[in-house]
């Protein structure tokens, strides 16, 4: 297994742990609107992370194989973020908007923390 695959699996695992924590928060704390927002945002963020990992793997594979490829999915990730915000605006009473934005940034926080913790091992 390559370093990149190990890193991808580790990041997805941490995202799932965080999402599980948010679901528990939504179920068992009185701050359900905030946690609904975090769950929605982190679900979309997980999709963004998965898409980014997959597209970069495909893209670099195509460069090595000297075949053609289609983009790296930037617009799909923007559209996913817009989708989460539209849902949050539609169900304003149930979902906290700031929490959705924080949830959307979860994947980036995971990427940076993973990079800081494992830069000597996997990123060298």
């Amino acid at each position: 297994m390559s370093n990149y695959e190990r890193m991808s699996i580790r990041q997805r695992k941490w995202m799932l742990y965080l999402m599980a924590l948010f679901v528990l928060g939504a179920g068992f704390t009185p701050y359900s609107t905030i946690f609904y927002g975090l769950v929605l945002g982190s679900a979309v963020s997980f999709y963004n992370l998965y898409l980014l990992q997959k597209k970069i793997e495909e893209f670099t594979g195509a460069v090595v194989a000297e075949t053609k490829t289609r983009g790296i999915g930037t617009m799909s990730r923007f559209a996913a973020a817009a989708f989460a915000i539209i849902i949050a605006i539609r169900f304003e009473a149930q979902i906290n908007m700031i929490a959705v934005v924080i949830g959307l940034m979860t994947a980036y926080i995971v990427i940076v923390i993973d990079f800081i913790l494992f830069r000597t091992k996997d990123y060298a």
Partner: protein, 70 residues
């Protein structure tokens, strides 16, 4: 005015993301084409670079939709 604010927010964000991603991808393609054995290392660097570049325009999209619908 809301639509104008949304257009500026998402447009400037996408412009920045396009420039940033273009630079990252072009350098990665150059590097992999020159040394295909470094693919793993370069794609990891590209992943982190693209991830960090795209965080800001995603916030831009969020701000645009909030400006448009609220």
């Amino acid at each position: 005015m809301g639509a104008l604010a949304a257009a500026i927010a998402v447009g400037m964000g996408a412009l920045g993301a396009g420039l940033g991603n273009g630079m990252i991808v072009s350098r990665t393609v150059e590097g992999i084409a020159r040394q295909p054995e470094l693919r793993g290392q370069l794609q990891t660097t590209m992943f982190i670079g693209v991830g960090l570049v795209e965080a800001v325009p995603i916030i831009g999209v969020v701000i645009a939709f909030i400006a448009l619908f609220q």
